[in-house]
């Protein structure tokens, strides 16, 4: 009577998840590149999150800019000043918020669209799948950047526009991957059993397919973030971003417009350029590590 009651199914599930997370982390830790990428990301994430405390939003004020325009690096301004006389180090830190936010949101949007289309196309087959896959193919062959530029041009200039432009143009790869995985999952016998027991479309897709494609989706998200950050920087650099919002790509655009390239004001160009490259690289390293851990076939090969 007083013996311990066996844990309920919910608790069991949580315990199982805890175990697999620990197992995942154990394997992830063995990949040095992945750990390095993660460390860099944590660092940048902390910098971005604490920016209101460290540099404050005043850093982007043009009327209260502390320095003279385009000062070279000095004790007061470690990375020099921009064309308004604002300190570039502060702008770089503040810009990390927008660049990371846009990268994350655009990647989430892109992967969500891709996952929904991939799962439904894999599940329903038939005419619906054919149509969806042709649409996917169409987006796949369209040059992403050109499409994003066209979208960003016709819509008003804001962060939402940029996120949308990147999100709706980069999802086809995810859709293809997820559909392939869905097909593989749905051919397993237990799906047939679930159907026989009366499982509807929604049940199959949300309870059986989704958990199985989730690792793939996660890995894909990490990888897409880095290209989304690059895409955001590109669009901002091409002058399609909101000029009043500070982002790394926007800083590059400002630098170009101010003529910093030909006049050799490197401090205006190099830091945002390096920041973009480093963060994109870090996300890629993480994504690769996650992918390798979650996909045992890749793990053995290396």
């Amino acid at each position: 009577m007083t013996t311990t009651t066996p844990p309920g199914p919910r608790a069991l599930a949580w315990r199982r998840r805890g175990h697999s997370a620990a197992r995942f982390w154990k394997q992830y830790r063995t990949r040095r590149a992945g750990v390095l990428g993660l460390a860099v990301l944590v660092l940048f994430g902390l910098i971005a999150l604490t920016a209101p405390l460290t540099v404050g939003s005043d850093v982007q004020s043009v009327t209260e800019a502390p320095g003279q325009p385009l000062e070279s690096p000095s004790g007061q301004f470690p990375l020099g000043t921009d064309r308004f006389g604002r300190g570039l180090l502060g702008l770089l830190i503040w810009g990390a918020r927008v660049s990371l936010l846009v990268g994350l949101l655009a990647a989430v949007l892109s992967v969500s669209i891709g996952a929904v289309i991939g799962i439904t196309a894999g599940h329903f087959r038939g005419r619906y799948a054919t149509v969806m896959m042709r649409v996917t193919d169409w987006f796949l062959v369209m040059p992403t950047l050109v499409l994003a530029i066209a979208l960003a041009t016709v819509m008003s200039r804001s962060l939402g526009t940029i996120i949308l432009a990147i999100g709706v143009t980069t999802w086809p790869t995810t859709a293809r991957l997820v559909r392939a995985q869905t097909l593989a999952v749905e051919s397993r016998p237990y799906i047939e059993r679930a159907k026989a027991l009366g499982g509807g479309h929604w049940h199959i897709m949300s309870r059986h397919v989704l958990p199985n494609v989730m690792p793939l989706v996660l890995a894909q998200t990490t990888l897409v973030i880095s290209s989304a950050i690059l895409a955001e920087a590109t669009l901002a650099f091409l002058g399609l971003g909101d000029p009043t919002v500070i982002s790394w790509g926007g800083l590059l655009q400002d630098a170009r417009e101010a003529g910093a390239v030909s006049s050799g004001d490197w401090w205006y160009l190099v830091p945002p350029g390096i920041a973009i490259a480093v963060v994109a690289l870090a996300f890629t390293l993480c994504g690769r590590a996650v992918e390798a851990v979650l996909n045992p076939r890749l793990g053995v090969a290396r």
């Binding site: 790869t173 690059l230 590109t234 790394w248 910093a260 006049s263 050799g264 390096i274 490259a277 890629t284």
Partner: protein
């Protein structure tokens, strides 16, 4: 050719000023290296071509709209027409007064309605025929009778009753009403025997067969859209042959690339339209063999307010904010604009603080508000004015419109103009202190919302001619579009009876001093209306290689600009340097640093792409 709109007018020549290379590769990192690609071009071209001809290459940031003098309105095109064709009169490079061009003498009848011009007999077309009064009469008559031919300069002849050529050296113009601009008719005179074969003037662009027959200091010999315009010296030009053998305007989308080309000696001159940025100017000042010409400009840079767009038939359109119809609101907005900061920070001294409508360079017409009239920077008074006008702040500090919603203005800005964006950011902060929100609407092509009147405020600017008639005419009621569907000559739909009266009076006044006084009254009226708030007169900042150009005429000769003059003086007078151009300036720090940046970033991008490609390979398995 009166307009020479530069920046922001309706014919919007800036539209293509800096279109971005849309094909650039994947990441900003790669784009960055693309931007530095030009400085790394290993083969600088010299000023002298292989056959020893002296070539003057000018980098311009504007493309040609049309090479037909009847259609062209952009600064580059009208400058080229100045070189190809003679006008009746020209402007003195020293003080911009009217001097003989194709006409040697002119006089008006006592009733002010008949003007007689004596046409010179020593000007020949480049195909050998004599240029006569008959050519001039034909040109004007064509513009009066053919609507297609009146596209660009029709405003000059709308008041003409009859133009005749009694003899090859006599041209007589009969007017309907007195017109003060008769010695400033910026209309290129074209050869009748060539142009009478043209069928449709609204479509003919004069760019098919070369060389194009003309009688100016240069003859057009080649043109490629968005690439170059090539001209050859006219050795038999009546004022004397130009010193350079060839003149090439080469189109650079990116001003920084043009500057790099100048450093390499690939071009001899970088046009200051748009001006070089302060950073470019100060870097070029320290470069060898390069002279930076920083001269007071012909332009004004203003903040235009939508006065409620309407057509001549009284129909209203557009959706300008109703609060802007209150003069106090317009004044308050401008009183919160610190022009000094704009000069210091945005233009970094390469501009003069804005006052009246016409830049100080045109001293006879320059007008300045009196101390009592001036809308000086005073944010406290601005807030007071808004309170008086009934626009009060709510608890959150936002000013509410009459509909009870917070006021937020859309400011139309040119995505291609860095100054617009910079000033826009200042406006945003200044006006937010008044409790007014600002959305910067930066577009590549501002013409559509502009013509439709769907803006609240807009950055505006025009190049002013020595004769101010045109820039004044664009604010009259007569310039409004006939119906909302039409396009009028109006700048931003201003229509004011008192201003119109003053405009008509100055046009009919032949005495220069009296006319100037009326023009100043018109400027004063315009200032009080608060629809056109001039923030600055930007300098023309341009640069050239002293080892390729020995000397060149500025206009006005003391502290004047070179590109975009009212006349052909600069290119006609340019003297080539003996050396024939430098071939090496590779150690410029900008190039080296640009190279390092490109390399660093390329390596980063390279690693990234290798990873991506591997990822792709794995996905495929």
């Amino acid at each position: 050719m009166s307009t020479q709109v530069h920046g922001r007018g309706l014919s919007g020549p800036t539209r293509s000023r800096r279109r971005m290379p849309a094909t650039v590769a994947v990441g900003a990192a790669l784009v960055l290296s693309a931007a530095t690609a030009t400085p790394l071009d290993p083969a600088p071209r010299q000023a002298a071509a292989a056959d020893g001809a002296k070539v003057l290459t000018v980098a311009v940031a504007q493309s040609v709209d049309s090479l037909s003098p009847f259609l062209a309105s952009r600064l580059l095109s009208t400058s080229v027409h100045r070189l190809m064709y003679e006008y009746l009169t020209n402007y003195d490079p020293k003080d911009s007064r009217a001097i003989p061009g194709l006409a040697t003498k002119w006089e008006s009848s006592p009733d002010k309605l008949t003007w007689a011009y004596t046409i010179r007999s020593n000007s020949k077309w480049s195909d050998g025929q004599q240029a006569t009064a008959e050519d001039a009469a034909w040109t004007f008559n064509k513009m009066m009778t053919d609507e297609g031919a009146a596209t660009a300069n029709g405003s000059f002849v709308s008041n003409f009753e009859k133009v005749t050529a009694p003899s090859p050296t006599e041209l007589v113009v009969r007017l309907k009403k007195p017109q003060a601009t008769m010695t400033a008719l910026d209309v290129p005179i074209v050869p009748k025997h060539v142009w009478e074969k043209v069928r449709d003037f609204s479509k003919f662009n004069n760019d098919k067969s070369f060389p194009v027959v003309g009688n100016g200091p240069f003859v057009l010999t080649g043109y490629k859209a968005d690439s170059y315009v090539r001209l050859k010296a006219n050795k038999s030009f009546w004022r004397g042959s130009p010193k350079f053998d060839e003149l090439v305007f080469r189109y650079y989308k990116d001003q920084d690339a043009a500057v790099a080309a100048l450093r390499k000696g690939e071009v001899s001159f970088v046009a200051g339209s748009p001006s070089l940025t302060p950073a470019q100017a100060s870097a070029l000042k320290n470069a060898d063999d390069i002279k930076v010409n920083d001269a007071p400009g012909r332009r004004f840079y203003a903040l235009a307010t939508n006065p409620g767009a309407r057509a001549r038939n009284g129909q209203k359109f557009g959706d300008g904010d109703p609060s802007l119809l209150d003069e106090r609101v317009r004044h308050a907005l401008f009183m919160a604009v610190d022009r000094e900061t704009i000069i210091d920070k945005v233009f970094q001294g390469h501009a003069v603080q804005g006052e009246g409508y016409i830049p100080p360079r045109f001293s006879p017409y320059f007008w300045k508000p009196s101390a009592g009239q001036e809308l000086a920077y005073d944010p406290a008074k601005a807030a007071q004015l808004l309170d008086q006008a009934g626009y009060r702040t709510n608890s959150a500090g936002k000013r509410l419109g009459k509909d009870g919603k917070p006021i937020s203005y859309r400011v139309l800005c040119h995505a291609t103009d860095p100054n617009d964006k910079a000033v826009g950011q200042y406006l945003q902060e200044w006006w937010s202190k008044l409790g007014i929100g600002v959305t910067l609407d930066c577009l590549d092509n501002v013409s559509d919302p502009w013509l439709a009147g769907t803006y609240d405020l807009a950055f505006d600017g025009w190049s002013v001619n020595p004769d101010p008639d045109f820039v004044l005419s664009i604010h009259t009621c007569a310039a409004l579009p006939a119906t909302p569907k039409d396009v009028g000559a109006t700048d931003n739909f201003i229509c004011d009876k008192r201003y119109d009266e003053l405009y008509a009076r100055q046009l009919a006044e032949y005495d220069p001093v009296k006319r100037a006084a009326i023009v100043k009254q018109a400027e004063s009226r315009l200032y009080d209306l608060g629809y056109m708030n001039v923030m600055a007169y930007p300098n023309a900042v341009e640069a050239y290689r002293t080892d390729q150009i020995k000397s060149i005429q500025t206009m006005p000769s003391a502290a004047g600009n070179i590109y975009g003059q009212d006349g052909y003086w600069s290119w006609w007078s340019a003297v080539p340097a003996d050396s024939g151009g430098s071939s090496d300036s590779s150690s410029s720090t900008g190039v080296v640093i640009g190279g390092i940046v490109a390399a660093v970033v390329l390596v980063g991008a390279g690693v990234f792409f290798v990873m991506r490609r591997r990822a792709g390979a794995d996905d495929r398995e």
